[in-house]
């Protein structure tokens, strides 16, 4: 397998393939099949300043080419993550990206402040799809002004590089991407799940409203990655419906510096190691020495 390592914010990563936040538990759960050291970096489950219980069931619903989830950001809280789980990643010499969220600006800031720089932390990833309770529940990531504001405030309290993870449920994602970068975001993660509803015809009801993920999301994510990569100078992590190595390659060509795999792991628990190998094999087979050789090479027709 060829060398597919990348450098991100001065840190050398084995490969450009990460898990999407919330789709690989706390990392330890996958150990019986393969280890987190397989990943370029492990992206934590979304962490909040206090533990958060999440939503009642049902939490998942299947669609033909995807799934809808409404987990509700259940997590043990930032303190317990660093006490109970972070030592595991250090032992495994696996760098992490810390995904975090809040329901108020203060919660975002408090959470970011808590996380101290460490050689095993590559970056923070702030989830901007959360509802802002003070603004009547509208998500932090929907308006450029709100994004600018929250990113600037979080950036002011941390020395760790900061990724802003954007929601696709916006009028123009390029405007949001620019606002995040102007506020100081060091990178963007594109995209989060898309708001959707499941429907049970037998019961004549809507059992679940939540975020849509899976292959159905890929074209939306690819467009966001491609357009934003032309508009902003920061690294972009592409995420949304990547099911195999060719999907991954298309994200690199569209302008992603790294990618995240989410729903694919539920369909095939070995999806991530297969994609890592597939990406390396593709580079070898096509005479490329590194990922950068194919980064952003997609042409508009």
């Amino acid at each position: 397998m060829g060398n597919i390592s990348i450098k991100l914010f001065g840190k050398n990563l084995r490969n450009p393939v990460f898990n999407a936040s919330g789709t690989l538990g706390y990392g330890i759960e996958i150990e019986p099949l393969w280890g987190v050291e397989t990943l370029g970096a492990y992206v934590t489950k979304g962490l909040s300043i206090k533990p958060h219980h999440g939503n009642p069931t049902p939490r998942v619903w299947e669609e033909r080419h995807g799934m809808i989830n409404s987990i509700g950001l259940q997590n043990v809280g930032v303190d317990r993550f660093f006490d109970a789980y972070f030592p595991f990643f250090k032992r495994k010499k696996t760098p992490i990206i810390v995904n975090f969220f809040g329901f108020t600006e203060d919660e975002y800031i408090a959470c970011a402040e808590k996380i101290k720089p460490d050689r095993f932390i590559v970056a923070l990833e702030m989830n901007l799809s959360c509802p802002n309770i003070k603004a009547g529940g509208i998500s932090f990531g929907k308006e450029p002004d709100m994004v600018f504001d929250i990113v600037k405030k979080v950036k002011a309290v941390t020395e760790i590089p900061l990724f802003a993870k954007l929601t696709p449920e916006v009028k123009n994602i390029v405007d949001i991407a620019r606002a995040a970068c102007e506020a100081g975001a060091d990178g963007l993660t594109l995209i989060n799940t898309m708001p959707a509803a499941g429907f049970d015809v037998k019961k004549k009801n809507i059992p679940l409203k939540g975020g849509l993920s899976g292959p159905v999301l890929k074209p939306i994510a690819l467009r966001a990655v491609h357009e934003c990569s032309k508009a902003v100078p920061v690294p972009i992590i592409g995420v949304g419906g990547i099911m195999d190595a060719m999907d991954a390659i298309s994200f690199f060509m569209a302008g992603a510096r790294a990618i995240q795999i989410g729903t694919a792991t539920f369909v095939d628990p070995y999806a991530i190691p297969k994609i890592i190998k597939g990406v390396a094999d593709y580079l070898d087979a096509n005479g490329h020495k590194k990922i950068d050789d194919i980064a952003g090479i997609a042409n508009n027709v």
Partner: protein
């Protein structure tokens, strides 16, 4: 635990809307304990996610699943013919633990029997088995448990005791007063709730196998939780912390 390729040996109806599926695995699944389950990639037909199934039986590389046709996944599965390749991730989840001190009682409702049969088999006749269902049609699910002389209740009275299985258990429990009894159960929510109501005054130990809609089956997604009495972390994953729980820790 592993993700193992296999081929369908047989897949046949054993009662209206209920099937028995046997799969020959290409390599051993490891130690399988009563109450554990597998996540199965249902062949073809636009079924996106895997589906969880209790391990009914596993021996000599042959995995047996008993299932009820309830939705798109099980409907597709029921149409899969012999020799169809199938992927099975397992064994998964926490299992029933049996104490030698207690007299075991197994209580199952309908297809819930699929979740407790491996335990019934392991206990080799030491357990009293209570099975409840709607009509005599479903009694066919008990074919492998017949040597253990199960007590049967049907709601319409077409076989055995007329009424629900908890009413039948109540009669039996009266004769066991003062003895150390432990109950193992799997069945519809209403059955588990009425079982809880029956045994709550006596605080009889009870392990319950729960079912929930799942995506990953291995604790990755937190999609399959049940609410528990734990104030710190009320939502526990059915796939990881379960599917077998202490009934008294569950919030029904």
């Amino acid at each position: 635990m592993d993700d193992i390729e296999g081929k369908i040996l047989s897949n046949r109806s054993i009662a209206p809307g209920h099937c028995l599926l046997r799969i020959r695995l290409s390599r051993p699944m490891g130690v399988v304990r009563p109450g554990q389950f597998v996540m199965m990639k249902v062949p073809d037909g636009g079924v996106f996610l895997r589906r969880p199934f209790s391990i009914y039986d596993y021996q000599k590389g042959v995995l047996t699943i008993m299932y009820k046709v309830v939705g798109k996944g099980t409907e597709q599965l029921s149409k899969a013919p012999e020799d169809t390749p199938i992927l099975t991730l397992g064994p998964l989840g926490r299992w029933f633990t049996v104490s030698r001190r207690n007299i075991p009682i197994v209580v199952a409702g309908g297809i819930g029997f699929a979740g407790v049969y491996a335990l019934v088999k392991k206990l080799q006749g030491k357990a009293s088995i209570f099975f409840g269902c709607s009509t005599s049609d479903e009694v066919a699910l008990l074919k492998d448990a017949v040597p253990f002389h199960p007590f049967v209740a049907t709601l319409d009275g077409s076989y055995g005791f007329k009424g629900n299985v908890i009413q039948l258990l109540k009669i039996h429990l009266n004769g066991l007063k003062g003895k150390n009894v432990e109950i193992f159960t799997c069945g519809p929510d209403n059955m588990v709730k009425s079982l809880r109501g029956l045994i709550e005054p006596h605080r009889i130990p009870c392990q319950v196998l729960l079912e929930e809609r799942m995506a990953c089956g291995m604790g990755l997604c937190f999609g399959c939780v049940k609410k528990t009495m734990d104030a710190q972390e009320p939502y526990k994953r059915v796939c990881k912390e379960g599917p077998v729980f202490d009934l008294w820790e569950i919030s029904l």
